[in-house]
Symmetry: C2
Subunit: 240 residues, 2 copies
DNA sequence: CGACTCGCATACCACGAGTACGTACCCAAA
DNA sequence: TTTGGGTACGTACTCGTGGTATGCGAGTCG
């Protein structure tokens, strides 16, 4: 295979860059794209580097020049899929002001995005195992998780109360897990539309519950505990 | 290595079984136990079959006699870890009658169980990637997930209303994801006790919200949707 | 007590991740 | 323009690992 000239001339690219940089960036992008396809279709473990470099029309020398190994390549794919997903969700939430409405909008976007096979396979399914939970959460923290955390914060502080930041993080993690699992429920169902509606209703019900507590003056503060909540609810139940 | 006699005489075992069956069962158990240790410590991908058979004092011939391959061995470990965990949780929930109290009890047990490194690594982290989400959920359905589903059902139907079974499943899946993620939050935190308390409070808050809706006569039925919930809440907010 | 089979060991193969090293091409400087 | 250097790959190899084929001796049963 002659290497005199790349088979595909590099896309316009950055004008301020030299030919070599453009060629190099082009092959790197191609590698990531091919890897995303194969990882999505067959999973991380069942995808060989030979298959990836063959699809990208290069050899392992090129791959190992750009990435330190298979895992590093996966990380690049992971970040690409994840950042584009997060961007799409944030796009759809722009302009919605009411916290509860915003939460539901974000939920719908998340459910839509999470059904993309690339996100399911690469981020949800293989991500934790390949990167390890440490790096996995670390990366999530700055994209999809950040969106959830933002929503949670606005919802919890909607009543004007201020909530402990650690508690916001806890809630965000709980909701993120709930949403990920919900996404799986939707994309794994035979009737995805009906499943999506059920999930919306369920999350809506939970959010409505939180809102209902806010209506009745029950708030989260530093002193709130599971036990105190039960007592408060009991008292409210007596008088109501 | 002589194979005249097993290094360790088999545990008492079933009296009605022949020696060969006892020896065989013994080595199989040993394989699963050693595999559980190594999988937990190093993860599935980084654990070689050579290491496992060395730890079990046998060879690959024995392993492939009992299991069809590495994945099948993992499944055996998975089922062992998972079933024992589910049993432990159900044990602690025995005798608690009040649905809300039962839910909180189950939550505490789940948080405790989920912190076991074997459960975190094998079930939560490696499980989905190794088994695939299909088989993963399929297996969960019959153990830890079943516990969650049971709790969810009793809580949702606590007010005397009957809820669509599909909706129970949706809720269960959402809560299961939430609890798994919460478990990670707890076990990954520096101060696990404080983290566990935050999780309890957060879940308690969500449950209290649902209970609050029940108090105010808002229930889930076939016609409930996210939109209708918002309208109902709005009306209640006006009069309250 | 003899044949048969089960439980396991041994030896081997195929494949895939990672490495060492060679080389052609691009770019900057002279 | 030429040339030296370094970048961006290609080639050829190693080694660890999952899986397989086959042999063999101890249990088991007639």
């Amino acid at each position: 295979m002659s290497k005199l000239v790349p088979k595909v001339p590099p896309l316009p690219g950055v004008p301020g860059a030299t030919k070599r940089q453009q060629y190099s960036a082009s092959t790197k992008r191609t590698l990531v794209e091919v890897a995303e396809e194969l990882f999505t279709a067959n999973g991380y473990a069942s995808t060989s580097l030979d298959a990836i470099v063959a699809g990208a029309q290069v050899t392992k020398g090129a791959l190992y020049h750009h990435f330190s190994g298979k895992q590093a390549l996966f990380e690049a794919v992971f970040e690409k899929v994840e950042s584009s997903t997060a961007r799409a969700i944030q796009q759809e939430m722009k302009g919605v002001k009411d916290p509860w409405e915003k939460a539901l909008t974000g939920l719908r976007s998340f459910l839509a995005a999470v059904q993309a096979s690339s996100y399911r396979r690469i981020v949800i399914q293989d991500g934790p195992a390949v990167l390890g939970y440490e790096r996995y959460r670390e990366k999530e923290e700055r994209s999809a998780f950040a969106v959830v955390q933002d929503i949670v914060r606005t919802v919890l502080t909607a009543g004007g109360h201020d909530v402990d930041e650690a508690m916001v993080g806890t809630f965000a993690q709980i909701f993120f897990g709930a949403l990920s699992s919900a996404g799986e429920a939707v994309s794994g169902a035979t009737d995805t539309t009906a499943a999506a509606e059920r999930v919306e209703t369920a999350i809506g019900f939970i959010l409505a519950g939180i809102q209902s507590l806010a209506d009745r003056g029950v708030a989260l503060d530093g002193e709130t505990s599971a036990g105190s909540l039960r007592r408060t609810l009991g008292a409210l139940g007596q008088e109501g």
